[in-house]
């Protein structure tokens, strides 16, 4: 069977599973729709969080980025995992104890303010929309490359699938489909990783092959011979300060992303929230510790397959032809000597490769069986769809719950609230689809935005809301607004208006760290210059801090052994 046939089979199979789960988990009331009845076991929520979090960018993009950045790619590895420690220790248990539906809910209630709620709603929607456009694009790319469907039709198929389970099942449907999607994506990621590790080092475990094999050593040598920096060379493309700031911004941004935070509202109790953060990171770590192995192996393989090879021969390769038609790979014999030279300078290098195709092309470059290639395509779709659905729910609940129910029509009945929720999911899918088909050229650029804004807005306000009783409405609003303003102006200035990165050369990706610090300081100072929060709010904070639920029966938390 060819790759196309296998891909069709896998895609149809997995989509049928998603649809079936969506149908089985349809819901009627708002608690089911927005927080899955708060009945998701810790392990399942961990898997759902992992799928929710690992997007098309994690699945397809990250290993590629690491592959071209070497050590400097560690910013993504540490940044996108380290945030879970902050989330698990500082935010998740308390937000679960608070036990409402959305992130703006917490901000609005804790700071007894409609303005604060509204600022949070706007930030949540902006962050989520930015992110979801990229996911739909990912769906389109997989379809166009592996099924030779045009991007448009691919995006529409993806929209229909997400619409089905998200509109019917809300958070509950999304949760259980995400569990299935995690399974698909992790299998799809690990099988080629194991195969390549085995091929190159004789050790099937990618993490061990990476550490104890000699591929990275050889790659260092090859890179230096070609005139690149050694693969393990730190700070080859970014300064130490920039690496530090970007890592912190990604960590804090991760902890502040609304679609990740809401997942912790869906577990039964505080204790399950703590454990499910651990499970989530464990499931994520399976992929994230394999990624650097894939990154280095793929680069080593690619250089070997392309460099110093006769261009006529390389052009015959099936995968080279297919990627060239997508324009993500360009081979051009610039000095006309008949062979390909891969050099660090773009003007003389015969190879131009988009980091996005590293993971998707790896199985083909390594000449793995067609079904493995197809499985990777299905995994990419699972990653993109699961993240998209989580984001769409945040957009929907921000409008249906925080704007419609809390601000416009507090009298709304259960039925009305769920109906508005469903309509908003539908609407959000249409907008996401539109951006997927007509991607604004700046999608890649605005991802820095999503993290920067999450870091500069949500994280400090939630953190202080729990850990500093004195923080009041005035402080929180002033903090969020100044953090957001500073970060937005800096990112827009550097990315679009040619402003020099005047803050010690920190790039747009890392400036969220400074925005967060500004937010923290402003919130603390303004809070202390204005009246303390009312007694009932202080009591609410006290309550968040008190030991919560009694330890539950084993079955409820998915933990095997209790001491």
């Amino acid at each position: 069977m060819t790759v196309e046939v296998w891909t069709t089979v896998f895609v149809i199979l997995t989509f049928m599973v998603y649809l079936y789960i969506g149908w089985r988990s349809r819901v009627k009331d708002s608690k089911g729709f927005f927080v899955a009845d708060q009945g998701v076991p810790a392990v399942a929520n961990g898997a759902a969080t992992a799928a929710d979090w690992m997007s098309a960018a994690s699945f397809m993009g990250m290993a590629g980025l690491i592959s071209s950045l070497g050590y400097d790619g560690s910013i993504y590895l540490m940044g996108w995992t380290g945030g879970y420690v902050l989330l698990a220790l500082l935010l998740a248990p308390y937000l679960r104890k608070f036990g409402k539906y959305t992130v703006p809910d917490f901000v609005g209630d804790r700071y007894y303010s409609k303005v604060a709620r509204l600022v949070a709603v706007v930030a949540a929607i902006f962050v989520s929309l930015t992110y979801v456009a990229g996911q739909m694009r990912g769906v389109g790319i997989v379809f166009s490359r592996f099924l030779e469907v045009d991007v448009e039709r691919g995006v529409i198929i993806g929209m229909v699938i997400v619409a089905f389970f998200a509109i019917l099942g809300g958070m509950k449907g999304i949760t259980w489909t995400q569990v299935a999607q995690y399974t698909v994506l992790i299998v799809a990621y690990l099988i080629p990783a194991v195969a390549i590790a085995w091929q190159l080092t004789g050790n099937p475990i990618p993490q061990l092959a990476f550490t104890f094999g000699d591929v990275v050593d050889k790659l260092n040598q090859v890179q230096v011979d070609l005139g690149f920096d050694a693969y393990t060379q730190p700070f080859a493309s970014k300064s130490m300060l920039d690496v530090l700031f970007i890592t912190i911004a990604l960590m804090v941004g991760t902890a502040g992303l609304p679609h990740v935070i809401v997942r912790f509202y869906t577990v039964p109790n505080v204790r399950a929230a703590r454990y499910s953060a651990g499970w989530a990171l464990l499931f994520i770590a399976l992929l994230y510790t394999s990624a650097p192995a894939i990154a280095s192996f793929a680069r080593y393989n690619l250089i070997g397959t392309l460099h110093n090879q006769p261009i006529a021969e390389v052009q015959q390769l099936d995968w080279v032809q297919k990627w060239q038609t997508t324009k993500l790979l360009t081979l051009e014999d610039k000095n006309g000597n008949g062979t390909i030279e891969w050099t660090p300078t773009e003007n003389t290098s015969d190879v131009k490769i988009d980091p996005d195709i590293i993971v998707l092309s790896t199985p083909e470059v390594a000449k793995l069986a067609p079904w493995v290639v197809a499985l990777v395509a299905a995994g990419g779709l699972a990653a993109a769809l699961s993240t998209a659905s989580g984001l769409l729910l945040v957009i929907s609940s921000s409008i249906a719950h925080d704007v419609y129910y809390k601000l416009i029509n507090p009298e709304a009945s259960e039925g009305q609230r769920v109906m508005v929720g469903r309509i908003m999911v539908g609407l959000a899918i249409l907008i996401a689809g539109y951006f997927g088909i007509n991607p604004p050229g700046f999608v890649a650029q605005v991802v820095a935005f999503a993290f920067g804004l999450a870091a500069a807005s949500f994280f400090p306000v939630i953190l202080l809301g729990i850990f500093d009783k004195r923080t009041n409405r005035e402080g929180a609003i002033a903090g969020m607004v100044s953090g957001l303003l500073f970060t937005t102006v800096y990112i827009l200035g550097v990315k679009f208006y040619g402003m020099s990165p005047w803050f010690f050369g920190v790039s747009a990706e890392g400036i969220g760290t400074v925005g967060m610090l500004i937010n923290l300081v402003v919130t603390l100072v303004v809070s202390r210059l204005t009246p303390p929060p009312p007694p009932e709010i202080q009591a609410l904070v006290e309550n968040l801090r008190t030991p919560g639920d009694a330890p539950l029966a084993l079955a409820d938390i998915g933990e095997e052994q209790l001491d």
């Binding site: 690491i66 050590y71 790619g73 560690s74 590895l77 540490m78 995992t81 380290g82 879970y84 420690v85 698990a88 220790l89 500082l90 248990p93 993490q207 990476f210 550490t211 104890f212 094999g213 000699d214 990275v216 050593d217 393990t232 730190p234 130490m240 690496v243 530090l244 890592t247 912190i248 960590m251 204790r271 703590r274 454990y275 953060a277 651990g278 990171l281 464990l282 770590a285 994230y288 510790t289 650097p292 850990f467 006290e542 309550n543 801090r545 008190t546 030991p547 919560g548 009694a550 330890p551 209790l562 001491d563």
Partner: protein, 87 residues
Amino acid sequence: MTSPRLPSYWRQNTALIRTLLIVWGFVSLVFSILLVQPLNQIPIGNLPLGFWMAQQGSIFVFVALIFIYAKQMDKLDRQYNANPKQK
């Protein structure tokens, strides 16, 4: 929850968080970034240690930290729920 027991529960909780976050910061920000160059002089397997910390080791530690926190909080919770009189 009666008020006299709360402060000590909260104090123990924040002390635990502080300890774990110090480890977190050292592993990721200090060892993997600020001290990566000196640590790279030491090999682990076939990789330089600093590089390995940044791409593998720190992630393993993160997972461990979260589970340690959950376990320790279980103990603390049990202590405070099981014996209401105990300080």
